[in-house]
Symmetry: C2
Subunit: 155 residues, 2 copies
Amino acid sequence: MLKLSRLTDYAAVVMAQIARYPEQAHAATELAEAVQLPHPTVSKTLKMLVRAGLLESRRGSLGGYRLARPATLITASDIIGAIEGPVAMTECSHADGDCDLVATCGVADNWQRVSLAIRTLLDSVTLAHLAQESPLKLPVQLPIQSVTLASRAEI
Amino acid sequence: MLKLSRLTDYAAVVMAQIARYPEQAHAATELAEAVQLPHPTVSKTLKMLVRAGLLESRRGSLGGYRLARPATLITASDIIGAIEGPVAMTECSHADGDCDLVATCGVADNWQRVSLAIRTLLDSVTLAHLAQESPLKLPVQLPIQSVTLASRAEI
DNA sequence: TCTATTGAGGACCATTTTAGTCCCCTATCG
DNA sequence: CGATAGGGGACTAAAATGGTCCTCAATAGA
Ligand code: SF4
Ligand code: SF4
């Protein structure tokens, strides 16, 4: 399905929630309630987001979480990367990807391009976009510039 | 990581292999050898691809697999869909998606759009593209048309 | 200073998904 | 007929995922 993990989804939801009131600090408990998710789980994702540098935290009373930078500078890639690691469709399309087949499978190169395209797409979607309530605005619109295949006939 | 399952990757590799010699039938054993993967595994993915209507099979001696339609008409989405089900980033972005949070999480709508964008992107990549040996051709190029945010300042 | 609050870190377990194997049946060709 | 393919599906092992919990550290304010 090429699906986000559930935690990643939670992360996005929580980030969006914070993004809607960027000024104030949000306690984990408060967020968990707002989003209707169990507190420990929310807490876990928050910690991950902090470690990835997307959130800043403050302990103690009056503490909580807030965005590390403006919502317009946080991308979907960032959020996904924070939870599941850098976006990459295949083993071979990220840094320490080591697939035995690189030599024989003729598709590595092209998958990497597709992967890159998706990454770019996700880079262009910011938290501000995601958090936006107003639904009907077609945030991301293709067309993707189509490909010119040299020898389509031959294949 | 937003990664393809390994089987999906295999499927792509195998499909590409077939696509390079579309005329002849390919036995599972032959393919397994060409791709350097265990036979049972390859066989499994082949069966899935048949069930999804991307390959046609013929039993008996001289049997084997061949493409059900030209490589230019088989998309990456098709292949992914055949193995892991339809492309959808979040629970809510495919048909029988039932997520309890739809009401409270303010991001469902926007994720669905992103999901759609990716699906469209993958629809535009054909097996012919993937199978192509020649590497350096930037098969898919963004730009994606960027978004106009109504009230960026306010967020 | 003391205490209540709130996050950090990490161990831990249950469940699900994924990957891979195997066996037995059916179709086709010669 | 018999040799060569694929079809279906059960089954297992291993890994990823989701979720919980407990203890420690920082901060604010009485
Ligand atoms: S594309 Fe080829 S090399 Fe890259 S991961 Fe898949 S099989 Fe390995
Ligand atoms: S986006 Fe909102 S509704 Fe869609 S799956 Fe994630 S949480 Fe559920």
